[in-house]
């Protein structure tokens, strides 16, 4: 895999590589103006950010910083050892949100958070409220589990965001001091440790991109190279948990704790791109390939084990015990996006779309004030009520919870939604590439200095028509490229000035001397369709699922007659699913089986019971549990 060098951009975006096939755009170059994602960005802005802040103030996670500054006894510190990182992620989310809207209403809140954080920073740059004070464990005394470097990673990402959006909060300066402390402490010849939870690697690279300071990149590369040699010990779950079993460039698949694996891979891509390390980029791309081919749920979800929050073996993808952590979804988008920028391969954008619609969008409730942490594809029990005032255990999955004892997901969703416009489109020397479909305004400048602009309009994913109208057309030819998703294979059509043509999956490019008002119209076939699993996925043998456009659908007991359970559903994939009244309906049966005394029997002996024909209603998986506790399943057994 070769690394293409393109000129740097000064995009306001989380990831701004100095080289790569595509160059990112962010606000204000891309503005999502409405539709599916616009609505979610609004709710994130109006509800989620404040929700996260108030929980963390109430639980004392914000106060931890001031308590350090005030030298309060450490037994008053609140939250888990990584609680600091949640404040950083929220600050990052608020920074992107400021850039999204261009208004300054969040500025005082960000400044106050930044001041609290700064007050807790030690003179040498060290910053962590859980370590290093009298009565606490010593600094870096538990690298495997202490999360100190992980927390710096989020601090630095927040600091980079603050600088790029120009919020003047002071977070950037705090982050730089921390990063300099890390470089001094963990340089070659000093402490040769690594963090049990990756994350600092991509943060340091981004800081190098922001500042042009090579030392941060070198430190990130050191952290990547040190991993995989057993420095972290066995950790109870085996070395793969921390990706400390095999060096990054020797590994062939993503494994172990899913978020750790994905953050590490993202950081390794960043290092590879900045250092021109094609072998490292190739290795990570192959790991992505293997994970997507054999260790990913239909939803794009990753991580099939509750134990260790980890990837399972190849094709071990149980729908009921899917962990598919929301943060792993966010992290998968982060990894795929970096690979997309580096290579331009539309498969990465395909997976981003799938993950955004079916994992990231699934997590928050319609009001933006409760969240899924795990995202299984089969819910056997109706959820118990979630207590509104105390943090929930994080593996609760049948109902969204307002907050968790380990509450990484809400702030991760918040920063992803606030920065979502950065994932919509890119530019290269020829023109503009549209990767994700949304109502959006895009204005940018091509490499030769020509300003271009388009307006995208769509009811996607409810509807498959995406209209792109040229709003700024410089003289001369340039290219607008649109991604045709792989799910639209053989059925997508492009209408362009001068004609209509069927288009293959992948990027479809239109190069011409566009005039103001020219329109491209991509028509994607969002009629619902059956999907079958690979025969090696034991856990869903004999079942089928329904997808519609990029959406995975599910059955909920809420939609079944007579309070039937979803496990009573059998479907007939010989009959095409149809749209009806905003939902999808398929032909099937409801079975009722007698209770056995022993659930194994000789072949040919019928289990008995009754069956009756029924129309089965499916709705988007992301909307699950939105109408109250329900049983739910994505993979539906076939009628016999």
């Amino acid at each position: 895999m070769s690394i293409v060098v393109t000129p740097a951009t000064d995009a306001i975006a989380p990831v701004v590589p100095r080289s790569g096939r595509l160059r990112p755009l962010g606000p204000p170059a891309v503005r999502i103006t409405g539709g599916f994602w616009g609505q979610r960005q609004q709710i994130n802005a109006s509800a989620t950010l404040e929700h996260c802040l108030s929980w963390m103030e109430r639980l004392g996670w914000v106060g931890n910083f001031r308590a350090v500054a005030d030298r309060l006894p450490p037994e008053h510190r609140a939250g888990r050892e990584f609680a600091d990182s949640e404040i950083y992620k929220l600050a990052e989310a608020m920074a992107w949100e400021s850039a999204r809207t261009g208004d300054s209403s969040l500025a005082p809140t960000i400044r106050k958070l930044a001041a609290d954080v700064a007050a807790a920073q030690q003179p040498d740059g060290y910053l962590n409220t859980a370590f290093g004070r009298p009565g606490q464990a010593a600094r870096y005394s538990d690298l495997a589990w202490g999360h100190e470097l992980y927390c710096y990673g989020h601090l630095i990402q927040a600091g980079v965001a603050a600088a790029r959006v120009g919020d003047g909060s002071g977070l950037t300066e705090v982050a730089v001091r921390a990063a300099d402390h890390v470089r001094r402490t963990f340089a070659a010849g000093a402490n040769d440790g690594i963090c049990g939870h990756p994350g600092i690697e991509m943060a340091l690279v981004e800081l190098a991109r922001l500042t042009g300071e090579q030392g941060y990149l070198d430190q990130a590369a050191l952290f990547v190279e040190r991993r995989g040699l057993g420095r972290l010990g066995d950790a109870g779950f085996g070395r793969a948990y921390h990706q400390d079993d095999v060096p990054v460039r020797a590994a062939t698949v993503l494994r172990g704790h899913a978020v750790r694996a994905l953050y590490l891979a993202a950081g390794a891509v960043d290092v590879a791109v900045e250092t021109g390390d094609a072998a490292l980029l190739t290795a990570v791309a192959a790991q992505w390939e293997a994970a997507v081919a054999r260790r990913t749920y239909l939803t794009g979800g990753m991580g099939s084990h509750h134990t260790g929050e980890s990837f399972g073996a190849d094709f071990a993808l149980p729908p009921d015990r899917a962990y598919s952590e929301t943060c792993a979804g966010v992290a998968a988008v982060m990894l795929s996006w970096r690979l997309l920028l580096a290579t331009g391969d539309a498969r990465y954008a395909d997976l981003i779309e799938r993950t955004l619609f079916n994992v990231v969008a699934t997590s928050p409730s319609a009001d933006g004030r409760s969240f899924f942490y795990a995202n299984p594809l089969h819910e056997r029990s109706r959820a118990e009520p979630i207590p509104p005032d105390v943090p929930s255990p994080h593996a609760v999955s049948g109902a969204r919870a307002p907050w968790f004892t380990v509450s990484c997901c809400p702030t991760n969703v918040a920063r992803m939604l606030a920065s979502l416009s950065a994932y919509v489109a890119t530019v290269d020397d020829q023109g503009l590439q549209i990767h994700q479909f949304a109502d959006a305004e895009i204005r940018t400048t091509l490499a030769d200095g020509r300003a271009v602009g388009v307006r995208m309009r769509t009811d996607y994913p409810a509807d498959g028509v995406v209209s792109v109208e040229v709003t700024h057309a410089p003289p001369g030819t340039w290219t607008i490229s649109l991604r045709v998703p792989s799910w639209a294979r053989g059925r997508a059509v492009l209408r362009e000035p001068g004609g209509t043509r069927p288009v293959l999956t992948g990027p479809v490019a239109v190069t011409r001397a566009f005039a103001h008002g020219d329109r491209l119209r991509l028509e994607l076939p969002v009629t619902p369709r059956w999907t079958v699993p690979d025969p090696r996925i034991d856990a869903v043998r004999g079942t089928v699922a329904v997808e519609r456009g990029p959406l995975v659908l599910c059955v909920e007991s809420t939609d079944l007659p007579d309070d039937a359970d979803v496990d009573a559903v059998r479907v007939d994939p010989s009959v095409a699913p149809v749209d009806r009244d905003g939902a999808v309906v398929v032909a099937g049966e409801l079975v009722r089986l007698p209770s056995p005394s022993w659930p194994y029997r000789a072949p040919g002996i019928s289990p008995g019971g009754t069956r009756r024909a029924a129309e089965i209603t499916l709705r988007p998986y992301h909307s699950r549990a939105g109408r109250g506790p329900a049983t739910m399943r994505v993979w539906l057994p076939e009628v016999h």
Copy 2:
């Protein structure tokens, strides 16, 4: 459910109820003389007991007791908070082993262990090496996780065994002092707590049975009644983990941590039987019924989640992630045995047989020096080598390990095997009941004082012929009853003096004036057979298994040509499996599928690949991994 009162016996056995449908027998009334179980008892005696002792001496778990006596600083205490219990379980195993052989070679070892334990007991009877000393947590400061009462449970069971086998080690006296301390501390009106890990309930009942002291029974009943009201808090896994969600008599199914659930249920049966509480007995029997119908693996294994080592939801029985802890197998035998004694229902003996052959017998290696802790029904990866000198993480499942950081299983297997003759046969007023088949000598006395004796000979489970010859025949009629397993339905034959007849499943009784030398011959059809799962078990839809007599069989990669993986196997259940060369062979295919880039596709698009006809060899699940690392599966997809 009514409780039948029968006269007490003074059997040398772990469970000796004062009432119930059947009365237990143990050594020397029942002696296993050879065959499948005799061989395993020999290995247990000659290897496993010493193996366990040497590990616990080397790791310092034995030394913990002497360290308390010597007032050594508590930071030298070794092992987990429940390590004391392993010494008690080993002492119990050694006590049963002494009774089994009748020789006194283990007596010095038991006495030494008993002396160490006694030296650590406090003047008020308190005994735990992990709590209560300066620098340790206070006594009973962490009932949910501290395992203090759990450890007493095992101490008391060891003390009861010591008394019944008459070993004079002094363990009984230590146990009585501890039990008296527990009664004072946890009486009504005093500390109203319960232990996070049940076990003391059945121990206290057994001590009441041994001593006739009602107070122990009352305390056991109190512990049973106190549970289910949320005293233990939420514990991270939810209240069901500790069975503290619903009172025992209100619960409808076994749930939460499997060993905890099964020990608690066993203790509740003991309380119910001794107090004549028919409602409690009925409740537990219904919980057993529900768990067996919907939450039990084909092997008899219980516990489908690694997380919380717990039962899953109804029909959530993934074969690859089956936890099926060996200790849950031992505990299931303990529960089923108590229910069998109380009711006489042969279904309990059926499950005991299934669990003994497919869980308990699976755990130890052929040399008795390594063990499975988890017993999944599908192993996707060849096991990594197990380090021989350090304890392994307990969820390691692809290879047997010599010891574990949490090492409950080896000593549990040891005490079960040493006491196994107690589970073979019982008596009632009419005669003798044979529940399990083994080469054995049985001599006992009927309620009317008549001495009877039989000799059982069988190559079971390799062969299905069980011969019972009368060796002591008093005047008059009496009954010999043999269990016809439910798996033999419709195909079992009994030859008796005077004729041959087909017999139904359940107990088949022959009542006559037996003469010395009279023979009964039960012929069970151990030809291999196909078994299909209930359609509600999603995880094994479209697959079949092979059983042979009481044995569940499996395919291992070791037996496949060209190093094929077990996941390549497809089988044809329209062709009967056959015995061949000590194994079982079925018709099938080996498939080879191409690697997909995305493991989901439209229906009607073949995944491609090749298939070739193959004979597939299966062997008993209990022998798995005996020939080196291998992939393995029990449930095999059908050919299409």
